[in-house]
């Protein structure tokens, strides 16, 4: 947990990897996932890097893998997941893998090609048989006569030479969607010198490539003359038709076709058996090879980010590594470079860049850290709000969601997930919504638990109050004391319990809200007053805590002036105005009792008067000399605004100027000697900033207008924010009210009606089943899911906006170590 407070120390580490051992070192680092490589060749484009050839070879291999994978999938087989640990193979193994897969792919390609060719042949034969069997012949006979009658007058005129022209045929098949276009084009191009008949195939044939059933249109074209024939052939070519010889001796031809296709089918069966053998081998080889090559490629890509030493003996890598992991890193490097005789070295180097943020989480803290990171990853070594979020987030959620029953349901749901978290089925679930819930199971667990607690405070369980302890109010005492007669009771449905009558109010309820309030007519106004004040108190405490957390940031980054010039004024402003309001609320709770309730002062009026420096005669002061105290507080708070506005910028400017004067004074004689311009040396001075050299440069280019502007924005944001953020916390009240009212309505509209329905036991029991089902479904859907989501959202907002803007900048970036974990999936 200590590491949760701020991000870990991350060092820039330079690795000297001997050329011979670089590959093994990096592959070992990939297994461990300790370091993040920095790209030292950012200016070099992808294809000019050192290991691009190896990367390309890996990519070539992956291309082959994809081919094999597709083939396996096309055959309807699945690839088994790879088993065991598969380290990145040594580079020489790549050749072996490459050879094996290439050979396999080649075999597969050959077999596939054979199979394809055979299938195409078979398809042709089947199509041919189908064309012949389509029975164009009877129609042909008809067209003969038809054609003849057309032809007679035409042929008579030219006479002799055309008599010997025979009628020729073209038969074939075409895809159905092209048939009409083909027919029209034929007719237009040949102007009726032909007769074509089109017919759809009754039985769909298997497509040779995809294997899907496809219907075909067969056609028979009869024509006269060679010219037309050539034209027809060209046209059918352009429509990619299958053309078959069409001869008279049909029967013999069809028998031969039958014979051929049977033979072909046998050969095809043989080929397919061989194919499945090859695929089986692919299934074995592919998964481990895929993982290995993926790792290999990752290693080469990482190596591509390294630069070469001047002597070409080793590669230099710059990496970010947690300071804690440095020994592990050195050990890993030593181990993996042992074989080569020269050891790889890692040593820290100073860095001017902001290191990445590393916060180690476990399965419990991960979801809370996730909430913070979703807003912004923290600056390096900034105070991390996540540890406080673990408590405050479920608590603020519960304030809005307070109900024992609902909280318990949520808690049990989360508990079930937590108990089952190690089951593989849980992790394997692909549903995105489920994964979201599962990821936040510990968050849900705490939210449920806290809701049970606030539920007890509000004394609500499915909107019903429970009386665990005896109520602090006694109706009997009231009835006895005021002598209510039976007639009086019959006339008045509403009775007032007066706490000032002895014996009626025995003392506060030991824990939470007294159950008697749930019967009272002024239940709501009582709860509203309580919840509203509670919201303001929680809000001011939460915000003040945020401001205090800023102290740790200032201390850590060595900006002590900000303690005095920022945190102190901020705290004074916040506590002087709104802290005082909280004080008034609590003071009134403690000091004003039922006896003097009639003349109780109004806090609201007091608070308004405080800002107006006035007083209203009707409003009794809470304590003596109240006006003086209030006036002092307002003046103090307002006096803090200019401090906040001008303090830091003036301080920075002053320091900047002083520093500028000091070195130039010292350098005056030297500058004359060296002929250096003053400007080049004036910015260097000792600096107490721990944040590193970064600040130095910022100091050097201090632009007064920018500093003032920045601080002005910050001041305005803070002062206005105090008002609006305090008001924003009132959402706690609003949402808890909404939740209570909704569950009240659900109870009154569904369950109460159901319970009051039948007098006889049997009827009531039967009716209650559907009624309870409705109640249960609506409770889960509306109160748990919908209300839960809305309360979650508001709790999120309170943390991101109201709490974190007091101290958290969230402008960092995460450490993303080089690891094979992703490659293994």
């Amino acid at each position: 947990m200590g590491s949760m407070f701020r991000s870990e120390e991350v060092a820039l580490v330079q690795l000297f990897l001997p050329t011979a051992a670089a590959y093994t070192c990096v592959s070992r680092l990939g297994e461990l996932g300790l370091v993040e490589f920095r790209d030292l060749n950012a200016s070099v484009s992808a294809f000019q890097r050192r290991f691009v050839v190896d990367v390309r070879r890996c990519e070539e291999l992956e291309k082959t893998f994809t081919f094999l994978q597709e083939e396996v999938q096309r055959a309807g087989l699945v690839l088994p997941p790879p088993e065991g640990r598969l380290p990145a193979p040594p580079p020489r193994d790549l050749l072996r893998i490459q050879e094996e897969t290439e050979r396999l792919a080649q075999e597969l390609r050959d077999v596939r090609g054979n199979q394809q060719a055979l299938r195409v042949q078979l398809h042709q034969l089947q199509l041919h048989a189908a064309v012949l069997g389509q029975g164009h012949s009877p129609q042909l006979a008809a067209t003969h006569t038809y054609g003849a009658s057309e032809r007679t007058p035409l042929l008579q005129a030219p006479g002799g030479p055309h008599q010997d022209l025979r009628v020729n045929f073209v038969a074939g098949a075409v895809e159905p969607h092209k048939a009409p276009a083909l027919e029209r084009l034929l007719w237009r191009a040949c102007r009726g010198f032909l007769i074509a008949s089109f017919r759809e195939l009754e039985r769909p044939l298997e497509h040779p490539v995809t294997g899907e059933p496809a219907t075909w249109m067969t056609f028979l074209i009869s024509y006269w003359g060679e010219q037309i024939g050539q034209k027809i052939r060209k046209i059918t070519d352009c429509f990619h038709c299958h053309i078959f010889p069409f001869l008279e001796q049909e029967e013999a031809r069809r028998a031969a076709l039958q014979q051929q296709s049977q033979e072909l089918q046998e050969v095809l069966g043989e080929t397919e058996r061989f194919l499945s053998q090859v695929l089986g081998r692919v299934q074995q080889l592919l998964p481990p090879a895929q993982v290995q090559v993926r790792k290999m490629k990752a290693v080469y890509l990482a190596l591509n980010q390294c630069s070469m030493s001047t002597t070409h003996k080793c590669l230099i890598a710059e990496t970010w590594c947690a300071a804690r992991d440095l020994p592990a890193l050195q050990e890993a490097l030593r181990d993996s470079s042992m074989e080569e005789g020269v050891s790889a070295v890692a040593h820290r180097i100073p860095s001017r860049d902001m290191p990445p943020t590393l916060i180690r989480t476990n399965r419990f803290t991960a979801s809370f850290q996730g909430i913070v990171d979703a807003y912004g990853v923290g600056r390096y070594q900034e105070v991390n709000p996540a540890p406080y979020t673990i408590v405050t987030f479920p608590f603020l959620f519960a304030v809005m969601f307070g109900d024992v029953g609902h909280g318990l349901l949520m808690f049990l749901f989360a508990l079930a997930m937590v108990l089952a978290e190690n089951r593989p089925a849980m992790k394997a679930a692909q549903n995105e919504i489920w994964q979201t819930f599962f990821g936040g199971r510990y968050l849900l667990l705490l939210m449920g638990l806290f809701s049970v607690y606030t539920g007890f405070i509000y004394n609500e369980c499915f909107s019903r109050a429970s009386s665990i302890f005896p109520s602090g109010w006694s109706v009997a005492a009231m009835a006895n004391q005021s002598g209510w007669s039976d007639a009086f009771l019959a006339q008045h449905t509403m009775l007032t319990l007066d706490p000032n009558v002895t014996g009626v109010f025995l003392g506060p309820y030991p824990f939470g809200i007294d159950p008697i309030w749930s019967l009272a007519a002024n239940h709501l106004s009582f709860l509203n007053s309580f919840k509203m004040k509670m919201s303001v108190i929680l809000g001011v405490v939460h915000m003040a805590f945020g401001v205090v957390l800023g102290v740790f940031n200032h201390m850590h980054f060595g900006q002590r002036h900000r303690l005095l010039l920022e945190t102190l004024p901020e705290l004074t402003f916040l506590l002087g105005l709104f802290g005082y309001l909280v004080f008034l609320v609590i003071y009134k709770w403690l000091r004003v009792s039922a006896t003097n309730a009639a003349s109780a002062p109004s806090i609201l009026i007091h608070f308004i008067n405080m800002f107006l420096f006035s007083h209203s005669p009707t409003n009794r002061p809470l304590y003596p000399r109240q006006e003086v105290v209030q006036a002092m507080l307002v003046v103090l708070a307002l006096a803090m605004v200019p401090v906040l506005l001008l303090g830091t910028p003036l301080h920075l400017l002053h320091r900047h100027r002083r520093r500028r004067r000091r070195p130039t004074g010292r350098k005056e004689d030297k500058a004359g000697l060296l002929g250096l311009p003053d400007a080049s040396v004036n910015c260097w001075g000792s600096d107490e900033e721990k944040a590193g050299g970064l600040e130095d440069e910022q100091e050097a280019e201090l632009v007064p207008s920018e500093v003032f502007m920045h601080q002005a924005i910050h001041t305005i944001e803070f002062c206005l924010g105090c008002v609006s953020n305090t008001a924003s916390y009132l959402r706690l009240w609003a949402l808890s009210l909404a939740h209570a009212q909704l569950s009240e309505v659900l109870w009154a509209m569904v369950m109460r009606i159901g319970l009051g329905l039948g007098r006889e036991v049997g009827v009531a029991a039967v009716v209650l089943v559907p009624i309870f089902a409705t109640f249960a479904v609506m409770t889960v859907a509306i109160l748990l899911v919908m209300e839960g989501l809305s309360a979650f959202l508001h709790a999120l907002r309170l943390h991101w906006v109201e709490f974190q803007n007091k101290f958290y900048s969230g402008t960092g970036y995460k450490l993303s170590p080089f690891t094979f974990a992703a490659a293994e999936d």
Binding site: S45, F47, L185, R188, A189, K231, K234, C238
Partner: protein, 350 residues
């Protein structure tokens, strides 16, 4: 078109417009070009293209990589995108898209007829045809012997049919006639497309008309330039000019009389749009007339994206993508022929 088309433009075409704008954003940037120019081999080029929106479109190509393979794959990609637009489009956008394909169809038909004239096999030429202008009857083009044959048998059902009205003739299809046919078809096509855009009105007309006018003028200039020293008569030449555009009618009449490049330049000097273009010829880097026209076209097409609710973006995108493909092919050619001195004379897309 009714007034206030922007109110309901998105109902029918909003999705596609969004899509095409997204596609436009994926055009190669200046930085990409700088990197491409540095490539040593086509493999490098491929690796670099992988980092852009082209992705691994060359992944399934067997080695060795050639320029024509790259070109074919790029065309296929563009064609895929265009088909997607077309399949999801509604009227009148679908008509607009059909008009866009017509120019490619004309080119393909002419290409096939030229091939038939030189007795090349259809398959050989089919590879060279632009996939955007592909249609079923296309391959049968070589059975036609005269333009009217061509029209009656093959093209009557295609969108090209209306453009044929002016060029029906019984002349045999020799090389000159085919060229004339192409230009007449183009003239007719451009005029019809122009009329369509003009009638559509709205932003589409405001954007498309200047682009098409420029296209028409460019054709007029190119025709004039190409006809110098050929047997084409001046009267015939005038009939080939599209009858609209900035040059129409006086400029065209003057162009018809022009006899050499200098006379053409004097005519262009009368127009403030074309004067700077002709002045830029031969300037830095030895630009040709074609180059300056391409540059101007790119400029207009990029500007088309500044307006919303119109169809011009589809036209502009396809033209820009084509220019980008020409650039990549140019760079690839320079790399493969080891002719690096001119590698930088691609047309930058702003």
């Amino acid at each position: 078109m009714l007034e206030g088309a922007e109110l309901y433009f998105n109902v029918d075409h909003g999705y596609l417009e969004g899509l095409v704008r997204g596609c436009k954003a994926s055009l190669l940037t200046q930085q990409d070009y700088i990197n491409l120019v540095q490539c040593e081999t086509l493999e490098d080029l491929k690796i670099h293209l992988q980092t852009t929106d082209y992705g691994n479109f060359l992944a399934n190509q067997t080695n060795p990589l050639t320029v024509s393979k790259i070109d074919t794959e790029m065309r296929k990609r563009l064609c895929g995108e265009f088909e997607y637009f077309r399949n999801h489009s509604l009227e009148p956008l679908s008509t607009f898209l059909t008009y866009m394909t017509c120019s490619y169809m004309i080119d393909n038909v002419i290409l096939l007829m030229n091939g038939a004239l030189q007795k090349k096999s259809v398959k050989e030429i089919l590879v060279k045809c632009h996939p955007l202008g592909r249609f079923t009857e296309m391959e049968a083009v070589n059975i036609a012997e005269t333009p009217s044959d061509l029209f009656n048998a093959i093209l009557v059902e295609t969108p090209l049919a209306p453009f044929f009205q002016d060029c029906m003739s019984e002349n045999a299809l020799d090389e000159l006639n085919i060229e004339l046919l192409r230009n007449k078809l183009y003239k007719s096509y451009l005029e019809t497309f122009y009329k369509f855009c003009k009638n559509h009105g709205d932003v589409t007309a405001e954007v498309m008309c200047p682009i098409l006018e420029f296209e028409a003028d460019r054709r007029a200039f190119i025709i004039t330039l190409n006809s110098f020293g050929t047997e084409l008569s001046k009267e015939d030449r005038e009939t080939l000019y599209p009858a609209f555009g900035k040059l129409y009618p006086e400029g065209l009449r003057l162009l018809a009389q022009a006899e050499d490049f200098d006379q053409m330049k004097t005519i262009a000097d009368h127009y403030e749009v074309y004067k700077p273009l002709f002045e830029a010829i031969g300037g830095n880097g030895g630009k040709t007339l074609e180059d300056v026209f391409y540059e101007r076209e790119v400029q207009m097409n990029v500007l088309a994206f500044n307006r919303q609710f119109h169809y011009g973006v589809f036209y502009a995108y396809v033209k820009l993508k084509e220019q980008e493909m020409r650039n990549i092919v140019w760079i690839a050619e320079c790399i493969s022929q080891r002719h690096r001195t001119k590698i930088n004379s691609y047309i930058p897309i702003l």
